[in-house]
Subunit: 436 residues, 2 copies
């Protein structure tokens, strides 16, 4: 399939420095799953396309990358809202999570993917259970994902890890390299040192990235200090975890030494500002982390702590929250924010040619409708993009060269049927819990 997008305003994305570049009257050519050209129309080479899309009044940009979520938690939307974290987990979330089966996981995963595609997310990094069923679902719905089988281990059996390794061996780099696997030990607090050491060795040996929660709450930090005598980053460094590429979710309760450890090892911090506020976990010192040249990317976290998968909310909140808490409006630029939502996540997922619209890069892109009141006037497109745009402005989402969403229609999902099955499935989980 060869697709040509003409007369579009293009931002090829940005690596985090300077300003976000925009090219008026641009053309994008997609050959198979790769960008063949992205630049001014007047310089575009001839391209025989199967389909030409008129991009007039649209912005073409890299698809968003959600670097930390638990996709099937769509079925737990709004569960335990406004509870303390302990009550939220033990009284609301965990009892419901015992009611999952593979069929429910598939529907809940598709529901999350439908929402992500509608709001312009093309890739996500996930940690959950029934991960094999999730991989099959993502294979069929066409998204790009780094999946991790959640490893929780209080008994030193390491059973979850054995399963996670088997899934990684089966799925890693399959589906035209759309699906990859990480190793995903839940957190310091939910694992034994033996397990953590084993994950570190196995990840290094298999060349897999590691996905883990780090210092989400003060409770996490205090627990680690008590159990290990050091902060979570120092503990993970000691155990060899940081010798592999690591995606560390949250990183809210960080001191300067923690920031330096993560900078030194090139850990990518998956920042989840909505979830951290909603669960009353706190506010990660992102401005300081960026200044220290840490790698920062954005995530929604699971729906139950967000309460949606619209990454545009994080795009606006990340810079605003740092300005409002440091009382310095100059911290965290639009370029840093866009990079955190695109290319920083791509690199953390292990893709060297993803997250920017350049020749030879993977064709994961979105079109944004600019003919809306909130995007008018267009005198500073950079600020409009970060602070005014709505997820609903996305009118086309392409992953791996294939259009998966366009103007309310999905090419791999049946929305009416999916929403009906999702509602029924979520009720079924609650029925099972009531009868348990």
């Amino acid at each position: 399939m060869r697709t040509r997008i003409t007369h579009v305003i293009l931002t090829p994305g940005v690596d985090g420095e300077g300003q976000i570049p925009f090219i008026e009257n641009a053309e994008v050519q997609v050959d198979g799953n790769l960008i063949a050209y992205a630049g001014p129309m007047e310089s575009a080479p001839f391209f025989a396309a199967d389909e030409t899309i008129d991009g007039t009044g649209r912005l073409c940009m890299p698809g968003l990358i959600n670097l930390h979520t638990h996709t099937p938690m769509t079925f737990l939307r709004s569960v335990g809202a406004d509870l303390t974290l302990d009550d939220w987990l033990h009284k609301a979330i965990f009892p419901l999570e015992k009611q999952w089966d593979e069929g429910l996981i598939r529907t809940a995963t598709d529901l999350g993917c439908m929402e992500m595609l509608r709001f312009g997310t093309t890739s996500f990094n996930d940690m959950y259970f029934y991960t094999n069923a999730m991989a099959e679902t993502v294979r069929d719905n066409g998204m790009r994902a780094l999946l991790g089988h959640g490893i929780v281990d209080f008994d030193e059996s390491c059973a979850d890890m054995v399963e996670g390794v088997a899934m990684a061996e089966k799925w890693n780099r399959t589906c035209n390299d759309r699906i990859r696997f990480s190793l995903a030990p839940h957190s310091e607090g939910a694992t034994t040192p033996k397990l953590i050491r084993k994950v570190a060795d196995t990840a290094k040996q298999m060349g897999l990235p590691i996905h883990i929660h780090v210092s989400e709450t003060d409770f996490d930090l205090q627990g680690c200090l008590k159990r290990r005598g050091v902060t979570p980053p120092a503990y993970l460094e000691q155990m060899g975890i940081l010798d592999s590429p690591v995606i560390a979710a949250h990183c809210v309760w960080f001191n300067d030494a923690d920031i330096e450890i993560f900078r030194k090892h090139g850990v990518t911090i998956a920042h989840n500002p909505v979830s951290n506020l909603k669960l009353a976990s706190g506010i990660a010192p992102i401005a300081k982390m960026l200044k220290a040249e840490c790698k920062v990317a954005l995530g929604t976290d699971g729906v139950a702590s967000n309460n949606n998968l619209n990454l545009w909310e994080e795009l606006k909140l990340m810079p605003m929250l740092q300005k409002g808490t440091t009382l310095d409006p100059t911290v965290v630029t639009p370029a840093q924010t866009l990079a955190a939502a695109t290319v920083a996540g791509a690199k953390a997922m292990g893709y060297d040619r993803l997250g920017l619209l350049r020749q030879g890069y993977l064709a994961d892109l979105i079109l944004l409708d600019l003919n809306t009141p909130q995007m008018t006037p267009r005198t500073d497109l950079e600020s409009n993009l970060i602070y005014s745009a709505q997820g609903s402005d996305v009118c086309l989402t392409m992953v791996d060269g294939k259009v998966l969403y366009r103007n309310g229609q999905f090419t791999t999902l049946d929305p009416a049927d999916l929403l009906r099955r999702a509602q029924a499935g979520a009720l079924e989980m609650r029925r099972r819990l009531a009868n348990a």
Copy 2:
């Protein structure tokens, strides 16, 4: 005109206590500009309607009320983003604001109203210049507004106030009571004591509400302490301002005594969480204010410090921000949040029968599409409404019994023409500034 909405899920709204109520399979009857019935379909009286709207899969709720904005600032969208407040005002905003004329103000006001209607806001409280032209614009586009002619007075001439009083005399309670006027002294820092005293006396005499900025930044607070020897709330109390109904925007830098002064006088705090973060002003202690039983309502502030007029962003941010900064997830309930975005604003604007969907109340209401991934599953509609819903889920907006927006169409505005004129007008202002 008699309109009937059938088979809808209804929330009549809430005064801030308890939980948000929902009625499945409800009916709403609108006779002229008033609600004739809002309740279960099975109990609905016979109603001969001119139009019947099928509300299946929709939520019917009170229209949102934006209690603090400067609507024409749509033309200043993204201006001076990421600057310090002083640079933002003096280098970016003020020079452009000198380029306004009546024609530009009309277009900029319509652009803001288009955005508000599209995202379900039915009423707004405003303070700006060229307020006569704004009133004419709102008269024609059908929204409900409390307008205040901004009074700035460094020279004791009180010229702005004379104009503001004349406009109030001309416009107050016109257009079927859709348009009202306040007196709007900008802030303690931008006015003389003589002016403030005069506003206090005139407001009392004319029975007008007062709209004023209070303690937005630490700079405001420190300036007032230096100039008047007391905090802004104490100063306004001394000067008699608080003897009239007052809408006080921001209230970020408040101590316990300030909170008590505003509680005692029944001042409504117009909280603008997005603007306060974006301009690095700080975070208002809303959880504490609500606990002290202060009146709290929501606003966007002007577009230049937001950067849009989608009040749903404030609806989600208000409770989240308090949870994240107090580290207590139980503070600020969905009911308190919905009340802040509806009935609290209605009362502050002086309307006793607005902001709830009850018999005899004004027919300002919206329909929300629930058949979206982000609103599925529907197991806890209260949390979905506050934390998952998007402004773009609004599919119908009715003000004073008239449908002004429905499924992408506006009944009093021509979107394509308006967006074109807005882009041209905003460029014209920048051309004038460059040539000045």
